[in-house]
Symmetry: D5
Subunit: 146 residues, 10 copies
């Protein structure tokens, strides 16, 4: 079973179950962003949560194994076209140099890890229109000399 | 005075002053990310903060006018190469589809605005290595039919 | 049922029905551009118009569900080659900077939303050759400081 | 005098004059979008409006001649990055196929000319936020057999 | 029946018939370039010639309908690699600016239409080697002010 | 003197002279397309016409030498953006495969040379709008086996 | 039978036969490079050698016909990645300008034809390591004025 | 002195001297292709031939030093546009897979080195038109297992 | 059997066997990196190790033959997106010019061969986090004059 | 002083000094690869080694400050063309998937850091030709769930 077939199987079972990503992740015991990314083939799960997920959605052991495989993280579009995803790309273009300047002053020369990293999505209710709040939290990795 | 010349003038004056972006933005009364982005030519300032910034750094009125001009937001590298900025691009590639799925479930069909938007950078102290926390806050804009 | 299969089903049923997009959209109660874009997989419909459309064209419930899913808006060609679509791309290239200048003067620093947005297509009869009139109407979104 | 030098001369003179593109175009007797595009080097003016513009802004005859030269319409960014211009590109991507379908039904097989063409920008006041209205008007050009 | 399936059906029937594009177009009453381009899916035919073509080659009504659909004119290779087609691309690169200069002097500021357009291919016999003569004939479209 | 400086010198002298490309080429004894392409740096001239051109326009010997140098034929834009030149690129995309099919039937397997080649531009007067006629004439080069 | 199917049929028959390209081409009476390129779909054969090849390898008449069709010479990778092919691309990049300079001095302004052209591959035995010798032989085509 | 300045100095001195690349290389004692490539900045010379070249052309010691520096071999155009150079690129595209097949049969799995490599250009006189003969000679490098 | 089918067969058999790449390569008598690369279709094996591998994993003779075929080394992504592979690409970008400078000083003008080459991967245990050690070992190939 | 000016100053001083990168780095007390990368603008130095380097080469305080600035790590060529650097890119393409497979088996799902990272270059003497040995040593960063 490829990661692609795994994702299709999970999506179909999820639709039948009527459960949201948040509900599923609560039951599996992982955050919804991480769990969703694993189901979409962009992260791997350990054996236990993989099994829990499959039990919850009535999926077989092949799916549980496919969830544990280490994914090749590939995307097709160098510049994403979906408006929601493009806006994130635009933020990187507009604010990338600024983020580098501020991180440099606060932490020194280095980067924010995208591996020792988490990302959360919250809803901030607001009478002028609700707001999406995305929080990225990555370990600062300083450049070292040798 | 072009935006590019403006940025060079500000960078030189800032280095002479010994002030950090945080210190400057505190005195000007704006957040450090927004203020820095305006100084780097990616946002415009209103007349009052532009003047305050120039007074603080000993810059002339041309710089204050240049800060008020509406910038053409352009970046050269379709895929950024600086490791700090690339990691953000990578996050968009790896988690873009996941963010779309979660936002869809929490808000409906729509996007997070990159215009009615703010971005903050914090330092989370951690004995295992400090962490960079980036918070994006954008208005949810639902697609409408017509 | 994927969006692609949905589009094929709708196109086949539309051809059998002999109805135009305008006639269909009149009966469904939506504008022809929005309705067509949803049928081509670039927008989602609410449950009611999705059902009306399927009733009108004799399509099953799966199609109605597929119409309600939130689409991934993707296009293949970075520069479109079809002459009709390329001319629109050319207009963006030739007049983009001009539109930015005029919108800046009329509204201040900001953009025209492509989400809180509608687009209409009209035919202007003209003895020297009929004319296509495309009207875009998008909310002005001002850049804000923070 | 190159088109680039011409644009710089006009921009400086316009800033000194304090006139808007609308005010200038009213006095010259052309629409503001066309006039602005000519000043930005994307269209040519006839001798009379070119002279009127230069008289109004106190520019010399070289500028008037440069305005009459036929421009090479070139843009650098295949995908524009400025958010205002990108949104227009996005509209072409999202609605291009739809526009082709509707134009096909209303007019037959052909295109909307981008040459025998005009574009206007209006402000629609709205308590929920003003709206940008862009109207494109191009001659329908039918494909012919031979 | 897609345009692709249509082209395959026509190519197979043409091979069986032993007829050349010139012979077919003579019988259908259209020029060989236009007719061939329609059969290759780059133009649409009116009902009558579509039917004539199908009668001539023994093709069914679906093919005749497919020939009448308005094609999406798409090509895969931004720079064509086939030597015959590349040479044409090279001519555009080498002589494009020259053609613009000469057309500008002969006609004023404008373009040659690629829609109100015909293209013919002739063989010029020559003892030093026969020559290909390609004649393009397109309506001059002047830029207009508004 | 580089080819670029040569072109600038010729353009300035041509503007002063008030002569058209056609008038200049008549006096030099070459076709206007070839001569213009040499002046724009895309072909080289023999010593005699180079000298004639310089005498006519009052240009010095360096210009005459520069005209005789063998040019590096380079263009910047893989897809040209100027509408006049883009339309030619579009013709190659839309009709390239068709031209290959017809040339194949008329001549056999081979190409039209872009080197042993000429290109002419004519004006066809027409009450419905004048027409641009571009004629390309290239030697057929058959593929040979070995 | 497409060219792709033809190549697969030939490759399978060649493997069964145990014959090398050199052995096959000797029997067919053509050079091994040309014959191989035709079998890989990059050149066409005349009827006689096509038939000989099919007789030799026990292939049917469809294959012989497919070998005679005029190929669309297309390659997928703009920059080839296979190390053997990339080295050839690298040679063009490193020595292209040099070759132009030397050919210019030896022949005048013009090109080496890639159509009236042959290419041979030899093995030069050498105790320090055998060497690959590639010889290209193309007609010089001078640019002509008109 | 950069490699670019070095090339300009050599080209100017060569033009003054009236010597051809062949004549220069004869006197320096290197092949014309290698010497020209070093002068164009794509190879380095040892001290002795560098000095000989500078003595011959009356160039100073800085030029001799610049000739000895190890060049960064960079080219701007991924697909070359000059017709002479493009034809070589085309040969790689059309015959690359064929060359790989023949080299594989003659030598085994490996490549032709582009470093332990030489390239020569000869003129083959021919009444039907002279021919350019390019000979590449590179060491075969077999892939090894480990 | 294509290389792709070969890889799939090997991956399935390897999973069933429960053997790691290291264990397999030990038994076959080759290094794990080279053996894995051959199984992934990026190198060829000699007959003996190919047979040993197939015996070990219970694969048929077709797989053994496919392993011996000379691969076309192709990759799809010009810039790799998987974070592990991208980091290697980043190292080339950040340190490429530095490596060239150091190799130049230590060895002279030349390159490190990627053909007469080996690559090994080791694990360096470290209480602060284990480390990946990648060692590349390639023959220095000096540029030669001719 | 920009990083570019800094690099030029260092390169000129280094050439005058006659010191190699190895000799300089020995005296400064850093490894040659890291030190060279900092001098080429791809890493920053701490104050002390920056001062030591400038003292050694007789450079002023501005250079020492420029060495301490945090660089924007940018490279121009998406695919490097210099043969030495390209070979490294080729290694990533040919062995990237293999490295991922082996690292996955040895360490689990994660990456080799390019930040907590060192790279060394050694010369391995060999009678069959000396060999370049490049050793990369990066911390393994495991993907974590959250």
């Amino acid at each position: 079973m490829t990661k692609l077939e795994m994702t299709e199987a999970i999506m179909a079972a999820k639709k039948s179950s009527g459960l949201s990503w948040e509900a599923i992740s609560d039951k599996v015991g992982l955050g919804p962003v991480f769990l969703t990314s694993a189901c979409l083939g962009m992260n791997s799960l350990k054996a236990e949560p993989a099994q829990k997920l499959c039990d919850l959605l009535g999926l077989d052991g092949d799916t549980a194994l496919a969830l544990q495989e280490f994914p090749n993280k590939q995307w097709e579009q160098i510049v994403p076209t979906d408006p929601l995803v493009y806006r994130l790309y635009e933020v990187v273009g507009v604010y990338g140099e600024t983020i580098k300047a501020i991180v440099g002053e606060k932490f020194g020369d280095g980067i924010m890890s995208a591996i020792d990293f988490s990302l959360d999505i919250d809803k901030e209710e607001n009478p002028a229109g609700d707001r999406v709040v995305i929080t990225m939290n990555g370990k600062f990795l300083p450049y070292k000399s040798w």
